[in-house]
């Protein structure tokens, strides 16, 4: 049996070891670092199945919990990091081209090491139940992301994305800290469990102050999960950042953000006087996010930018699930949706990387004629797009179905109706990719797209999982917390 906190510690140690290995030149090939990192993270992943109970001192101080939810998301984060690293190996040539270096290949090692630290931060986030802990973990994640987003120093768009992410990220951090101080001021606590106990005792005169703090925290977390109206950074950052980092931001960062959101909101849902206001805020957020994300995605021509808007849109469906949290199945629906989102988003990005390498860009038009160039890759992308749109027999459909079911059960008819319209527009913009692959002719002299072995294995596994879970979702529902 392993002490749970050992997991995060070993991820950090792994990161430090890799940094040292790079600095002292233990390996000539930079990609070896990535393989070591993947191996180490896989070992940690296996370790999550041999977790002992949380040690007593942690239990008492209550800032670090290990429950089914956090364990599930720790695995979620580990899998995403491994996939990001697989993608990064594929992406290495582009990094080396766009990073100035004295010797060829210098300065690209950290590209594989920083995600490991991000992973540690995300894992802490999943267990954090104290505002201080949440803040520290979040900063570890965000700061390592600042570097990764701006990693391509010769690419103007990457630098621009980095700056935008830094400034807006710092702003949202400010909101978070300020919100926490209001909580602390009114309840005298930073621990969420303690806050839950104190909340009913807070005099009514102080309620506006708590709501103010809650609003500030919601702003900060809305930034992390890319909910409208805090989504302004998403399209530019997603487009400019290196593709693996974009995928990481879109999936792992968002998932951890949602988990923190669930944990933070939980105490407030137990108090009736906050419940209604919070519920209203969630419905409004979901409405705005759904409408903005889906409508703004329609005219996009760049695939990464499209996926950026699509990630906003998916945040909208997830918020719809959160707003319906009173339903018995809603919690599992949200987690199911996030897991499906991981599969399909990573699949899309894994395919984007070799296509970008082969055709020199990441516009939708670069997918033209892919069905004739590489039928297998096109089929995988077809599955990803279908799943993102929510076509039956894919995991994305069941995700949407569960969310809609929960929302209908809670009587959120307005949200559901808007959801129908946005799903329809989703069909349009995801099918644009299918159209490019199957309808449009390939550019002349375009050969098959080369995919590395590992990537193709990953693509195959993800596509198969999407279909299997689309036929038999019980496999995943069975292991949900």
């Amino acid at each position: 049996m392993i002490d749970p906190v050992i997991l995060e510690v070993s991820v950090v140690v792994l990161g430090i070891f890799l940094l040292m290995a790079e600095a002292f030149g233990l390996t000539k090939q930079k990609s070896t670092l990535a393989w070591w990192a993947i191996g180490g993270l896989a070992a940690v992943f296996i370790g999550t199945f041999f977790i002992g109970p949380n040690s007593n001192s942690f239990e008492v101080s209550g800032f670090y919990v290990v429950d089914g939810l956090s364990l599930f998301f720790k695995r979620f984060v580990l899998i995403s990091t491994i996939l990001v690293l697989v993608m990064s190996v594929d992406y290495l040539p582009i990094v080396q081209r766009l990073v100035p270096a004295e010797r060829p290949g210098a300065g690209s090692g950290e590209f594989f090491i920083l995600p490991v630290f991000t992973c540690a931060g995300l894992m802490w986030m999943t267990s954090a139940t104290d505002f201080i802990m949440i803040f520290c973990a979040l900063e570890l994640v965000t700061i390592s992301f600042y570097i990764q987003v701006a990693y391509l120093r010769r690419s103007m768009s990457s630098l621009e994305a980095g700056t935008k992410y830094l400034i807006l990220g710092a702003l949202s951090t400010g909101f978070l800290v300020y919100g926490i101080t209001w909580f602390f001021g009114t309840t005298g606590q930073t621990n969420l469990v303690a806050i839950r106990e104190v909340l009913p005792l807070v005099p009514v005169a102080n309620h506006p102050a708590i709501l103010f703090g809650l609003a500030l925290v919601l702003v900060a977390l809305g930034f992390k999960i890319a909910a409208a109206p805090f989504q302004f950074w998403v399209p530019d950052v997603y487009q400019g950042a290196p593709t693996p980092v974009t995928a990481y931001l879109a999936v792992a960062s968002k998932a951890a953000g949602f988990l923190v959101l669930i944990r933070v909101l939980e105490p407030f849902f137990t108090v009736p006087s906050f419940q209604n206001k919070l519920f209203l805020a969630l419905v409004l957020l979901a409405l705005l996010t759904l409408i903005f994300g889906n409508l703004a995605a329609i005219p996009q021509t760049n695939f990464k930018r499209l996926l950026g808007y699509s990630s906003i849109a998916h945040a909208g469906y997830l918020l719809m699930g959160l707003a319906a949290i009173g339903d018995a199945f809603a919690g599992r629906a949200v987690v199911f949706y996030l897991s499906g989102y991981l599969l399909m988003t990573f699949l899309a990005f894994l395919i984007l990387v070799p296509v970008t390498k082969a055709s020199g860009g990441d516009d939708i038009s670069h997918f033209n004629g892919l069905a004739r160039r590489s039928p297998g890759l096109a089929l995988a992308m077809l599955i990803a797009a279908a799943s993102l749109a929510g076509v039956p027999f894919t995991v994305g459909f069941f995700g949407k179905f569960f969310i809609f079911e929960a929302a209908m059960n809670q009587g959120l008819y307005l949200l559901v109706l808007v959801g129908i319209v946005t799903v329809a527009s989703g069909f349009y913009y995801y099918f644009k990719v299918i159209r490019a692959m199957y309808w449009q002719p390939a550019p002349e002299d375009a050969g098959p797209v080369a995919v590395t072995k590992t990537s193709s294995v990953a693509i195959f596994i993800l596509a198969t999982l999407i279909l299997i879970l689309g036929v038999y979702p019980q496999l995943l529902i069975g292991i949900l917390p």
Partner: protein, 501 residues
């Protein structure tokens, strides 16, 4: 769990064939073989079907999401068998008349096989949720078939059809979720048998909003007026086999769903919202009928005519008595066969002449007598000439509709709206009979413009219908004639399913 239903193989055969084609099998041979095998298997199953027993047979069940009562239940009764026969027969015909495109013929046949697997799965499902999911299997193949191999303004047509169908199906999904949530807590299921049983014992409240969601969801998929505009365009642009499968079989899904789910569960809502539905039906029959007359191209004309004929089936559904519902069910089969033949022949004409404009065609029956004769048969069947199955079904719909809704409810309708002592549904029935005249006008006119008159020099060397397409068309016509003379066979099959689902 019970044993595996043999119906599962009906779904698996096209899917396995699609995988084989993907892996490099000879696309046309594999598809033909698979669809022929499927039809034979269905006929074998039909011969084992015990028509005297009520309820679903060949049932097998497998839980998919037990928490939400979703099970993969296969089963078939008389009505499903009729639809399954339609699906497999039209699939075989569609594959037979398909001409392999120059490039990427694999994708072409895979798409056809996927649509086929989807419709067969839908009609063999007893679980409402799986019924819905199987229907959606056709969404992407249709998008690809029209977009890649279509003619005319194919891109716009493909987009329009896809967006309409996707939106319609999500509205339908909401309706199904609503149907699920109407059931008493703790006893919810998507199993059709369970739902109907609950409805009979009065445990499902008759909720008009859920009915409306289902009506418009299914209605969009069936091109109910005014949500029909995607259909003519899509069918005109689609390659012949795709139009055959989509207009002939896939579109029947919506009406089948209305007859199967809405009729037993929401009789009062159907009654209460009858005026709305009747207005839409008149739109479907008269408005679209006149629009059909105005068409100058064969493909769009057939597209509109298939929309128009949906109005009759809706009428049979709206009247809600056993005769009219039986007529509507028979019409699902008859219209499916007719429209499949018409689209197949339309594709053959396009293949030969390269145009479908009435003004450019003419007299080609001299060069292609067999093609002309089969088109004549199909056109007559479409109008509803006695001797074809279409006549029997139309007659039953009209008789059923004129009698009107079950007597205990009729009193309200008569008091509500009465024109010359006819109640509203009778007035609509009269309009529908007038619709037959309309369809005779456009069908005969199309026949005259294409096949009659002097033969222009440039069409004098057209090859006649031959080979597999001819066999397919002759067989379909034969089936229509056979059931036209012996409709009682079908009635005996369908009525028990409607009386005691």
């Amino acid at each position: 769990m019970s044993t595996v239903s043999p119906l599962l193989f009906l779904i698996l055969i096209p899917l396995v064939a699609a995988v084989l084609v993907m892996l490099g099998g000879k696309s046309r041979t594999v598809s033909l073989f698979a669809s022929a095998l499927n039809l034979i298997l269905l006929l074998v199953l039909a011969s084992k079907f015990r028509a005297s027993e009520a309820g679903f047979q060949f049932v097998s069940s497998f839980p998919v999401v037990p928490q939400l009562g979703i099970n993969f239940i296969l089963g078939a009764d008389g009505l499903s068998f009729v639809m399954l026969f339609l699906s497999t027969a039209v699939t075989l015909a569609a594959v037979a008349v398909a001409r392999p495109p120059v490039e990427n013929d694999r994708w072409f046949y895979i798409s056809l096989l996927m649509i086929s697997a989807g419709v067969i799965g839908a009609f063999a499902s007893v679980d409402v949720f799986l019924f819905y999911m199987f229907h959606e299997l056709a969404l992407i193949p249709t998008f690809l078939l029209i977009g890649i191999w279509g003619s005319g303004d194919r891109q716009a047509a493909a987009w329009k059809a896809t967006i309409y169908l996707a939106t319609g199906s999500f509205v339908l999904l909401l309706g199904l979720i609503g149907l699920y949530l109407l059931q008493p807590l703790g006893d919810r299921s998507f199993d059709l048998r369970h739902i109907i049983q609950l409805a009979e014992t009065g445990l499902i409240p008759d909720n008009p909003i859920v009915y409306l969601l289902l009506l418009f969801g299914f209605g969009t998929l069936v091109s109910l007026f005014p949500f029909h505009t995607w259909a003519p365009q899509a069918y005109a642009s689609a390659p012949a086999p795709a139009a055959m499968l989509h207009a002939g079989v896939l579109k029947k899904f919506g009406l089948y769903g209305l007859i199967r789910i809405c009729a037993p569960v929401f009789p009062e809502s159907i009654q209460a919202l009858l005026p709305l539905l009747l207005v839409l039906i008149v739109g479907n029959i008269l408005y679209v009928g006149y629009v059909t007359i105005a068409q100058r191209k064969l493909d769009t004309m057939l597209g509109y005519s298939s929309v128009m004929h949906m109005g009759y089936i809706f009428l049979g559904f709206a009247a809600l008595n056993v005769v009219s519902l039986t007529g509507a069910s028979l019409m699902l089969l008859s219209h499916g066969l007719t429209v499949a033949i018409l689209f197949a022949l339309c594709g053959e004409i396009r293949e030969r002449t390269g145009t479908l404009e009435f003004s450019e065609l003419g007299g080609i029956a001299r060069a292609t007598p067999k093609l002309g004769l089969s088109f004549g048969f199909a056109a007559m069947a479409s109008v509803g000439l006695p001797g074809f199955i279409g006549f029997a079904s139309e007659l039953m719909v009209f008789f059923g509709a004129f009698v009107g809704q079950p007597t205990d409810m009729r009193a309200q309708t008569e008091a509500a709206a009465e024109v010359f002592r006819f109640n509203s549904i009778q007035v609509v029935t009269i309009c529908a009979v007038w619709g037959i005249v309309i369809s005779a006008i456009y069908m005969l006119r199309a026949y005259r413009k294409i096949f009659m008159g002097p033969l222009p020099e440039r069409w004098s060397r057209l090859p006649d219908l031959a080979g597999l397409p001819r066999v397919a068309v002759v067989l379909l016509i034969g089936v229509m004639l056979f059931y036209g003379f012996f409709p009682q066979l079908l009635v005996n099959l369908v009525t028990p399913a409607l009386l005691q689902p």
